[in-house]
């Protein structure tokens, strides 16, 4: 197999219109043909195709380049423009093997970081605020999620240019310095503080209606006194029931029960405690 890395003599500078075409294709359609076998591979090939057509004029060269970019590929969709940008910069130099390596090298770590920030921090905070607005009957809830999605998309544009300009320098930045670790940890801490506030606020409707009547003697007279269990609980720790239920769910998941099993257990618990009049 002829190594394309050896033919670095010709550098093709890609015009801005073609770069943008590739970028928008990645931003909007990367996952349209997502499949189990090679996941986002075809989406990536279609994005980079206009660039490959400019760089590789000969049919065989082009075919080989296309085959390279139809290999397994999967990452967080927000991170993909970054990888695409870096790959294009390398393809301009006809450094095809390097483009493949940078894809393989970056897609895993960037998927991890992107998924963490999206699934553990950004989406949950937006989703909980939106859900509490919606529970109050406000359309601003769904609107907030809608806008957050657009914001999340908008991030992809600068990431593409960052990838294109930094090219191979990206690998060092992602792997070294621990910069991204820092971002993830900061996100985790902020996320935990917010979740700590969300648990009592979202689950505040979980209270017990239980009460006991007790006869006490006041000044020699028998008086009927009603003790509300919820008030007693609030005296110990407020929002104790929400905390206990989240704690139960967390314990069950840590015991390796599937989310669907935990869901069924919580539904069963709801039916039982409701029937017994506990909750």
């Amino acid at each position: 197999m002829p190594s394309t890395d050896m033919e670095k003599t010709t550098k093709t500078k890609i015009d801005k219109a073609t770069l943008k075409k590739a970028m928008w294709r990645d931003i909007f359609t990367l996952q349209w043909s997502w499949n189990y076998e090679r996941m986002q591979a075809l989406g990536f090939l279609w994005a980079i195709l206009p660039v490959l057509q400019k760089v590789y004029k000969k049919g065989e060269e082009l075919k080989e380049a296309m085959q390279r970019h139809l290999q397994f590929y999967n990452t967080n969709p927000v991170a993909s423009p970054l990888i695409l940008g870096a790959s294009i910069a390398l393809e301009e130099d006809k450094a095809g093997q390097a483009a493949s390596s940078i894809k393989v090298g970056l897609m895993g770590p960037l998927a991890g970081i992107g998924d963490t920030i999206q699934a553990v921090l950004f989406r949950p905070i937006i989703a909980v605020i939106a859900a509490s607005l919606a529970m109050g009957g406000s359309m601003s809830g769904p609107l907030l999620i809608f806008l957050a999605g657009i914001l999340w998309m908008a991030v992809k544009v600068p990431l593409f240019w960052l990838g294109y300009n930094k090219s191979t320098g990206l690998i060092g930045e992602v792997a070294g310095k621990g910069l991204l670790d820092k971002v993830t940890n900061t996100a985790t801490i902020a996320g935990l503080i917010v979740i700590g506030g969300f648990i009592p606020s979202i689950l505040s409707r979980l209270t017990t209606p239980l009460q006991f009547a007790r006869t006490v003697t006041v000044d020699g007279e028998a008086v009927e006194k009603v003790i509300k269990v919820q008030e007693v609980l609030d005296g110990i720790v407020p929002f104790l029931i929400p905390v206990l239920i989240v704690g139960l769910g967390y314990y069950l998941i840590k015991r390796k029960l599937s989310p669907i099993k935990v869901l069924l257990i919580l539904v069963a618990l709801s039916f039982i405690t409701n029937a017994l009049g506990i909750l």
Binding site: Q67, N74, A111, N185, T188, I193, I199, L203, L263, N274
Partner: protein
């Protein structure tokens, strides 16, 4: 009203198709809250759509399609659940339909993800022949299994299913609806539990207490807690990485 005729199911099926493709694109349209509200608008009960959407959104907090994994399809559940709940059974009846629907839909998600494999094999063949237009076509057609796997069940369930399902719900005893109502309040706890499962709670648990105390004892609004949370996180990371910080 006992059923929806043809047009509303068609509209909802179309939205189910569009929303999953938008989700693949990266827009957050396949969110239970958005689809619940939109379905509520279409069937004439916005508040029900908001309530069902909010409950399902909270349940989905810690779930994510890591590396192409399948998760319960709360979006489709919200559409079908809201449409059926609006026929009279309300939040409890809607959730009783939406939750099992969300879980059953995982099977169709797997089917869609498997079917799309046809298109990448098609692309391989076109590539061999040097047919670039064919590659483009294969990629753009790849969305069809995705869209249909949501659109068809929504259309059929609301068109043919809503009336009969509504009749079945009317038979549900009171204790069932009461249990369902409570389940709606309890299930957001699942979302929180799953979310905590993804975070290094062992190392960072004290921060959970900070947020809890701020709300439970001072009653600070969530936006305030979020701001304070970000400030604390940044300061903590600076102090922790103090010496190595450039």
């Amino acid at each position: 009203m006992h059923d929806y005729g043809f047009l509303i199911p068609l509209l909802l099926g179309l939205w189910a198709y569009i929303s999953i493709i938008a989700q693949l694109t990266g827009l957050w349209w396949a969110e239970a809250l958005i689809s619940g509200a939109l379905t509520g608008l279409i069937v004439g009960d916005v508040n029900l759509g908001l309530q069902i959407g909010a409950t399902l959104t909270l349940m989905s907090l810690g779930m994510w399609t890591y590396g192409g994994a399948t998760m319960p399809d709360f979006n489709t559940g919200a559409i079908i659940g809201t449409a059926i709940g609006a026929l009279g059974s309300g939040l409890e009846g809607g959730l009783a339909i939406a939750i099992p629907t969300s879980i059953l839909m995982t099977q169709l998600d797997v089917l869609a993800r498997a079917t799309t494999t046809v298109f990448i094999h098609g692309a391989d063949k076109h590539l061999e022949k040097g047919n670039l237009k064919g590659i483009t076509k294969m990629h753009l057609l790849g969305q069809i299994p995705w869209g249909l796997s949501r659109g068809i069940p929504v259309f059929l369930a609301v068109w043919l299913g809503a009336g009969p399902i509504q009749k079945v719900i009317e038979w549900f005893p009171e204790w069932f609806m009461g249990g369902m109502q409570l389940a709606g309040k309890v299930l957001p706890a699942l979302g929180f539990a799953l979310l905590l499962n993804q975070i290094n709670v062992k190392k960072y648990w004290p921060f959970l207490l900070v947020g809890f105390a701020l709300f439970a004892y001072i009653n600070m609004p969530i936006m305030g807690i979020a701001m304070l949370g970000l400030a604390i996180a940044i300061v903590y990371m600076r102090l922790e990485g103090g010496s190595s910080n450039a």
